[in-house]
Symmetry: C2
C-alpha cells in the first residue's frame, strides 16, 4: 500500500470507488442500506455499518485467499461471480474492486460454450457461485478447472453441498472472525476494477474492462447531469405527489381549507429516501451500474435474488420500493400477473425500462397500471458501461403535454455530459441534423472502453480516427437528438438477452440441407422480439421446418452452443433471401417485408 | 497542440474546463446565456452562440498577443484582470484558461501594497482593466510596469482613454475581425487554470493555483452532491411554489375545483431556467466558482457590474433573477433600500448568504421580506476554491420544522463529497463527536490547493501528515456536523472583505506611543463585524485615541498600506491585554469580555 503522502496527491487525488463506500457509512451508518429477499421469502437486512463491516471482512478473506491487486495497464486477479442479485454479490463487488482486484460478473444466460470462453479468457482465479447456480457450474467444471483455482460457495443456509467442484470454500465461513475494519489501499485511479463480456452477437463474447477512474467519473457525471435537469425532475415529482395524494387533497378542497394546509398534506410522509429494487441481473454490466450510484447516494438497495412477479410485488409493498429498472419482458410478466392488484404498489414512482424497445401496447398497459409510469429511452452498451446517451427533455419541453414529451422520450437522446457522441457519414463527417441522413454513432469520453481485453485486432476495428465506432446506425433530428435507426450487428433482443444472430446463422448453415440462413427479430408483446429464421434450402432437398428446428435442438442446444431462448419461434423457407450489394443479408429489407415473410412462416413454439 | 489520438485517451480522457463551454452551445445555442447591465443602465445580452463566438475571438487575440499555454507543474502566462462583473470578464476567464493560460482575477479591494505584491508575485504578463478601475491601475503603474508587458482596456464605450499606461489595447478592437471558431488545445488536465490570492490576513497575500482537473471535479462533485439531496431540494421547491401561487390556489379552492386543476395552476409558468445574478465580485475566487457551474448548467448568468441595491432590484425584475449569492453587507444594504417594495422581486427563490456570519437581526428581516429566504452556512477558503463544507440537511431532517432545520443550517456542516475533512486534536487524531472538544480542521481531496505559489515554506506549514491544515478551530457534534469555533487567524470579516489583524497590529505597534496593540471584531448589523483596537500605551505616554487613529490614517491609509475600511471603529486603552500562555493575544478571552472593553472604548467613526 502506497503511503498517503501529500501535497503530491492534492492535484491528483485519486478517483477511487473506495470513497463511495464511506459516504453512507459516515452519514447514515445505522440506516438499513441493503436488503435481500430470497426465493424462500426470507429477508436479510443490513445497516450501512453492518454491510461495510461484512465487506471489510470479505476483503480480509480475499487477501488470505491470495488475491492480488493490479496496476495501471495490468489487471489484478479476476474474481468471477456466478451469482444472482443479493447482498453478498454487492459485498464481493466492493471488496474485490477496492482491494485492487477485478470484479467479473459472469453472464449465466450465455450458452455453455460462451460461458466457458469468458471464464477461461478472463482467467478468473476465483469463482463465487450461488447454490442455485452450482449445477450449471458443475456442467462446465471440467472445461474451466485448469483456469480457476478456487471456488466459493454462496448459500443462505449453512453447510456445504455435495459436489466435485474443488477446492470449495463457504462464503459465511470465510467471513467469520475476520477483523471488522480494513485499511483499503490507495490505488492508482487507473487500476482496472471490472471486466464485463459482451453477449457475443457477432462471434465470441469480447472482454471489456473499466478502471476506477472511469466508473467513478461515470457515476458522478450521471448524478451531475440529473441535477442539470433539476426542473424536469421537480415537475415529475410534483405530478407524482399530486397523484398519490389526490384523495386527501380533494377532501381538503371540499372543506375549503387554506392552501397552506394542502402544502402540509403534501409534505406529510414526504418521501426522503429512494428505495431502488435491483431487478436487472448484476451479471449484466452490474445491473447497469447499480452498485456505484446507489451506494454513493446511500439509497436503500433491495435485492430480489432473481425477478419474479410475485416476489416483485411483495418486496415493493414490504420495502416501499420507489424505483426499479426492468427490461420489457419483466414489465410484461408483471402486468400479466394475476394478483397484481392485491398488493400496495403506491410507493413506486419511477420505473425505468431499458435493454430493448418497449412495445406500444405494453407501454399503454403500464401507464394505466402505474399513473406515474414514464417511458424513457437511452443508449448504452457493454463498451460504454451502460449509460452514455439519454433521452432527456430540454427546458422548453418541460411544459409540453405528455404525449408530445413522450415523442421525445422514446428517441435515443443526447450524450450524457462527459461523453461526446457524433453520428458520422462514410466521409467521417457528422451527418446534418435533418432527421433523415443515416450515419454511424461514434463515441469518446470518460467512460468509453479503452480496449477489448487481449484482443488488439478487434480493438483496432472499433477505435478509428480517435473515436469508438459502435456499429449502430442513427439519424439526428433538428433538436440534435440522436435516433437509432438500425443496428449494424442486427442483434435480436429477447427479454434481457441478446440473441446472437451470426452464431445462429453459422450454426444453421452447418445443416446439410441448408444453403443459406439468416435470423431477424419478430415483434413480441412479451419478449420484445423473438427470432425468426429465413432459410433457403439446398435445391431439391426435401426438408421441413421441423427438421431445421430439430437440428438446432440437437446440434445447438444439447451441445451447449446455444440456449433454449435462442431457438427461433418462426421458420420460413424462401428462395431469395434479400441481400445487400456486398452479399450480406439485407436485414433492413427483410424487416420492411416482415409481414410477408411472417405470413408464410411456420410457428415453431407457442409463446410463453 | 497534442493530436487527439485514441484509444490512449479513453481511460484518461482529460478533465478540461473547455468541455463546459460546449454544453450550452450544443443544447441551447440560441437562448440568451449572458446578460450584463452597466452602471448607466444599459443592457448587453448574448446568446450562448454569440458568447462562444466572442470567446473564440478573444482566444485568437490572446494568441496574437503572444499568450503561452502551460504544462503540468509549469503555469502558462498569467492574465490579470482588474475588472468588475461583466460578460467580457467571463469571456476572458474561459478564453484564457481553455487556451492553457492562467486566469488571475486581481482583488482590487486589497491595499495598494498588497495589490502590487500580487501582480508582481504572479508575474502577470497582461492586465485587463476596466474603465472604472483604470485610475487605480494608474496609481500603482510605476510599481508593476516592469512585470506587466501589455494592458487591455475594457469599456462599454468605444475609444481609448488618456493615460500613461502603455502599451494599451482596446478589448473590442482586439476581437474585431477575428475568426468565430477556435480549435481549443487538448491540454493535460493537470494544466493550471487559475491563480487566486488570499487576503493576506497574516502577512502578504499568498498565491493559490488550481488545475483544470481540480476545478472540473469540484464543479461536477458539487452538482452531484446536490442531486444526492434531491428530496431536500424538491421540498424547498414545493414550498416556494405554494408561496408564490398562494393567491391563485386559494381561488381554486374557494371554487371547489379538482386537485388536478390545482396541479395545472402550479405547472403554469413553471420555472424551467435558473437565472443567477453574480453579485460576489469575480475577483473573489471567481465569485465562488460561478463561471464554472453556471456555464456548464447553461443557466442565464446576469452580471451587474458591481452591486448596488437599486441596480439589483431593477435587474431582478427585468431578468426574472431566481438566485443570487450575497455577503451579509449586501443583504443589509438591500433590506435598507427605500424603494425595495417598488420592484417585483417575486422570481427570487434562492438567496445564498456567505463570506461572513449572518447577524440574527438581519436574518429575521430577510425572512420577512423574502418568504423563501433560507440561511445556509458553509465553509471554504481560497485554498479550497471556495466550497468544501456545506450545512446540508440529512434525510431525517427534511420533515423537521423550519426553526429546527435552521439550527442545522447555521452549522458549518459536513464535507461535500470529494473532500475529506477531519477535526483533529493536538495528538493528530480526530476529536470525539461530542459537540465540545476543539480541534483544527484539516482537509484533503480533489480540490484542495497543492501549494502556495512560489512559497515552499508556507506550503510546508500548511501541508503536514498528508492533510492541509486550515488554521481554523472547530468542534464536531453528535450528527457529525463540523461547527467552526474560532479562527486561529482571528480574522475580522467586514462586509465581503477580511480585515487582516496581524497587519493592523504590526502597523499600530510602529507608533511611538504604543506598547502593545491587538484588533478584534465587534458585531455590526451592517458589516457583520468592524474592527476594535485594544491598545496598551507606553507607560507615561500622553496619547489619545484620536492620536492613534490619526497615526493609522497618515502611516497606513495615505501610504497605501491599509484601506479605509480597515480603520478601527473603536479604540480602547487597557493596561492588560489578555494573552495566552505562549504570549499571544488571547482573542477568545477578549471576545468573552467584549462588552466590558466596548463599554470603555471610544467610537472613532459613525457607522455608515
Amino acid at each position: 500500500m502506497a503511503a498517503k503522502t501529500y501535497p503530491q496527491y492534492s492535484t491528483r487525488y485519486p478517483l477511487l470507488l473506495t470513497d463511495f463506500m464511506h459516504r453512507p457509512l459516515s452519514l447514515y451508518p445505522d440506516d438499513i442500506g441493503v436488503v435481500y429477499r430470497n426465493d424462500a421469502g426470507e429477508y436479510f437486512r443490513f445497516t450501512w455499518r453492518q454491510w461495510y463491516k461484512r465487506t471489510c471482512q470479505l476483503a480480509h478473506a480475499l487477501k488470505q485467499l491470495g488475491v492480488k491487486p493490479g496496476r495501471p495497464g495490468e489487471p489484478g486477479d479476476r474474481l468471477g461471480a456466478m451469482a444472482l442479485n443479493h447482498h453478498r454479490h454487492l459485498e464481493l463487488i466492493y471488496a474485490g474492486t477496492c482491494l485492487g482486484a477485478v470484479s467479473h460478473p459472469i453472464n449465466i444466460m450465455l450458452s455453455r460454450e460462451h460461458m466457458i470462453h469468458t471464464i477461461n479468457h478472463a482467467g478468473d482465479s476465483i469463482i463465487f457461485v450461488d447454490e442455485a447456480v452450482l449445477p450449471l457450474l458443475e456442467l462446465i467444471y471440467d472445461r474451466i478447472k485448469d483456469t480457476v483455482k478456487t471456488f466459493v460457495y454462496i448459500s443462505d443456509r449453512p453447510g456445504r453441498p455435495q459436489t466435485r467442484v474443488a477446492p470449495l470454500y463457504e462464503y459465511e465461513e470465510l467471513l467469520k472472525g475476520q477483523p471488522e475494519e480494513f485499511d483499503w489501499p490507495l490505488l492508482s485511479e487507473d487500476t482496472y476494477a471490472v471486466l464485463y463480456y459482451t453477449t457475443g452477437t457477432t462471434g465470441m463474447p469480447k472482454g471489456v474492462m473499466f478502471t476506477h477512474r472511469q466508473l467513478y467519473l461515470q457515476t458522478i457525471h450521471i448524478l451531475a447531469a440529473q441535477m442539470m435537469r433539476f426542473h424536469s425532475y421537480a415537475m415529475e415529482f410534483l405530478e407524482w405527489l399530486f397523484t398519490a395524494k389526490a384523495e386527501a387533497l380533494g377532501k381538503l378542497i371540499a372543506a375549503g381549507r387554506d392552501p397552506k394546509e394542502l402544502l402540509e398534506e403534501l409534505k406529510k410522509d414526504f418521501p426522503v429516501l429512494d428505495v431502488p429494487m435491483i431487478n436487472i441481473p448484476l451479471f449484466h454490466i452490474h445491473a447497469w451500474g447499480a452498485p456505484w450510484q446507489n451506494v454513493l447516494v446511500a439509497n436503500k438497495m433491495v435485492f430480489p435474488g432473481r425477478f419474479s412477479p410475485r416476489a416483485f410485488c411483495e418486496i415493493v409493498q414490504t420495502e416501499r420500493v420507489t424505483s426499479t429498472g426492468l427490461v420489457p419482458t419483466m414489465l410484461a410478466m408483471l402486468l400479466e400477473f394475476e394478483d397484481l392488484n392485491k398488493y400496495d404498489l403506491s410507493s413506486l414512482r419511477n420505473i425505468g425500462v431499458g435493454g430493448a424497445a418497449l412495445p406500444l401496447g405494453l407501454k399503454a398497459k403500464a401507464e394505466k397500471q402505474f399513473p406515474s409510469f414514464r417511458v424513457s429511452s437511452g443508449y448504452g452498451m457493454t463498451e460504454t458501461a451502460a449509460g452514455s446517451i439519454a433521452a432527456a427533455l430540454k427546458r422548453h419541453m418541460i411544459n409540453w403535454p405528455k404525449e408530445k414529451q413522450d415523442q421525445v422520450r422514446v428517441k435515443t437522446g443526447t450524450p450524457i455530459f462527459g461523453i461526446e457522441a457524433r453520428v458520422i457519414g462514410e466521409d467521417g463527417k457528422p451527418v446534418p441534423q435533418d432527421n433523415s441522413t443515416l450515419g454511424e454513432i461514434v463515441l469518446r469520453g470518460h467512460w468509453i472502453m479503452e480496449q477489448y481485453y487481449k484482443d488488439p485486432e478487434k480493438t483496432e476495428t472499433a477505435w478509428r480516427d480517435g473515436w469508438f465506432h459502435t456499429g449502430d446506425m442513427a439519424k439526428v433530428d433538428e433538436e440534435g437528438y440522436i435516433v437509432i435507426a438500425d443496428r449494424i450487428t442486427d442483434v435480436i433482443r429477447s427479454g434481457a438477452e441478446m440473441v446472437p444472430t451470426v452464431l445462429l446463422e453459422n450454426l444453421t448453415a452447418t445443416c446439410d440441407h441448408v444453403l443459406e440462413a439468416t435470423f431477424v427479430g419478430v415483434p413480441d408483446e412479451k419478449w420484445g422480439e423473438r427470432p425468426m429464421a429465413l432459410v433457403k434450402p439446398v435445391p431439391g432437398a426435401s426438408v421441413t421446418e421441423e427438421d431445421i428446428y430439430h437440428f438446432l435442438e440437437v446440434e445447438g442446444l444439447e451441445k451447449g452452443k446455444i440456449t433454449k431462448w435462442m431457438l427461433p419461434d418462426f421458420i420460413v423457407f424462401c428462395d431469395n433471401i434479400p441481400k445487400t450489394s456486398v452479399g450480406k443479408y439485407d436485414k433492413i429489407t427483410i424487416r420492411k417485408r416482415l409481414d410477408e415473410f411472417l405470413a408464410k412462416a411456420k410457428r415453431m413454439r407457442a409463446p410463453k
